[in-house]
Amino acid sequence: MLGLGIVKGLIETARNFLGSYVDKNRLVTVQFPEERLPVAEAARNFPFLIYDGVDPEQGLRCVACQICEKECPPRCITIEKSKDKKPDFVGKSQFYPAVFDIDVSVCMSCQICVEVCPFDAIRMDNEFELSTTDRFGGLLWTKEKLARPNEHYLAIHPTEAAEVEARRAEEKAQAEAKKQQAAVTQ
């Protein structure tokens, strides 16, 4: 019968029209500024550097080993090693980055830098409202803008951060034990 398919189609749109008033999972629109979807835990946008404790300079975990600079596919990270050293969380004196820039306009948030970083110094943030009017300076993030406290990392990626904390605490404990043991043998 000629018109039957069209009528069935009309019934289908009518069902959707009425459905959108009746059950919630048909009407899927989220009114963005007022309503916000919860951000997925694993969501990633641009990297940030983690520092322990209070002082971003002292507590910065990054030891400027430049692995992430080499591995980053679009080469958007530029690091300059410092001349002197500072102690890291286990007490070993390490270099630290004098300059650590990420050109956010080049970064494609692929999080390979996070994967290859042996010191858990860089993680992916999920902040996405980052529009700036300044196309060049505004998008070249320096070390100061990138540094974030460890609590922020614990807040946005809880499960992953918990594992990292556990591992670091255990490493610290081992280092302490070795130090006592070294002190005892002296």
Binding site: K8, T13, A40, E41, M108
Partner: protein
């Protein structure tokens, strides 16, 4: 002023044409509304993907494969990872194989739904089928974001497994989506498949004969719509596809309606595969522990691996000279090869059909231009 009616009219559709999927141009010579000649012009989105991959390490090339066919990043990753695993001889743990099948079939669902939505949009249905398809696609993309961190640029697969294991909660959400997808497909078909206007606009339009499809190297739903039984999941049995029971739909006429039905029926088959995969996914590691993340230096040699991506046979050909970056990195783009038969299908058709035929091939310019 232009010649009119019986004289020849040259029209160039695109690259700013509302219905060429991405930046693509067609120089069409028309007699009245009938197409005499059609010259596809592409290359607007060429980003030198293969040269970049040759200068970068194997690991660094993975995020770039996301951007090949930017609607199905998971299957692109899998194709590349499969090629490198064949080259470097890496084994993949069981659970990772299951996760790969699950995310690949999810990608197929959202790609086919999107394709049908865009096809109807080209036919003039003012966005309704597209909105229904995108509602489902958003649900799949949310799952990808839960799993890999990004909706479309997942960068999820690594050589010898996958980057992150999926949580039981994620598996439960996926099972819920797969269970609801059948209902969506029934509603979708009720709106579209019986529709006389859709049948009139697509049946007998843009016919791709069987031998032309085979000779031109067309693969994927376009080939199966012309009746050729060639699905890499059955031919190559790559990954663990031989463990799942599913069927491959075949068309007879090879016209736009058959290509549309191929997508719909393949979505139903993918739902079957997903149900079986979600049921018997084992636990265990997702990454081969001894596979190094950085500095992969496969031994000298070459490898070609291909998978059944939603667009067709997506192949990666790698030549390694022992250094950390590949000597030659070549992608077999199904969209580009399926596009070569566009003119043969459009000759003699109406200008309104050219847009519909292009929509039925389902091309993504990222993969065509690389």
């Amino acid at each position: 002023m232009s010649q009119v009616a019986e004289d020849i009219m040259e029209i160039s559709m695109g690259p700013q044409h509302p219905s060429t999927h991405g930046v693509f141009r067609m120089d069409v010579r028309l007699e009245g509304e009938r197409v005499l000649r059609l010259k596809p012009v592409f290359g607007y989105l060429h980003r030198n993907h293969e040269k970049i991959a040759e200068n970068a390490s194997y690991l660094a090339a993975i995020p770039y494969t996301d951007r090949l066919d930017y609607l199905c990043s998971m299957t692109n990753n899998w194709g590349y990872a499969l090629a490198v695993e064949k080259l470097a001889g890496l084994a993949v743990p069981e659970r990772a194989e299951y996760i790969r099948v699950i995310v690949a079939e999810l990608t197929r669902l959202q790609n086919h739904a999107g394709m049908v939505g865009f096809l109807l949009q080209d036919m003039g249905a003012s966005g309704t089928p597209l909105m229904y398809a995108f509602t489902q696609r958003e649900k799949v993309l949310d799952l990808f974001e839960e799993l890999s961190g990004a909706r479309m640029m997942c960068n999820y697969m690594r050589f010898g497994g996958v980057r992150v294991d999926c949580s039981p909660e994620w598996l439960r959400q996926t099972a819920a989506l797969v269970a609801a997808f059948g209902g969506f497909l029934d509603e979708f078909e009720q709106l579209l498949t019986g529709n006389e206007i859709l049948m009139a606009r697509t049946q007998g339009v843009g016919v791709l004969p069987q031998e032309l499809a085979i000779n031109a190297g067309v693969t994927g739903p376009g080939l199966r719509a012309s009746g050729v039984n060639y699905d890499l999941r059955k031919v190559d049995r790559y990954g663990i596809y031989e463990r799942f029971q599913f069927r491959v739909p075949l068309g007879e006429h090879g016209d736009v309606f058959d290509r549309y039905m191929m997508r719909v029926l393949e979505m139903r088959e993918s739902v079957k595969i997903l149900e079986q995969a979600l049921r018997d996914i084992p636990s265990g590691p997702v990454m081969d522990p001894k596979a190094k993340v950085r500095g992969l230096r496969p031994k000298v040699g070459e490898a070609y691996a291909r998978i059944e991506s939603p667009k067709g046979e997506l192949g990666f050909y790698l030549i390694s000279d022992g250094t950390p970056n590949p000597y030659r990195y070549r992608v077999r783009p199904p969209s580009l090869i399926n596009l070569t038969v566009l003119e043969d299908m459009c000759l003699g058709q109406n200008i309104a059909d050219v847009v519909v035929i292009l929509g039925s091939i389902d091309i993504v310019m990222g993969e065509v231009d690389r």
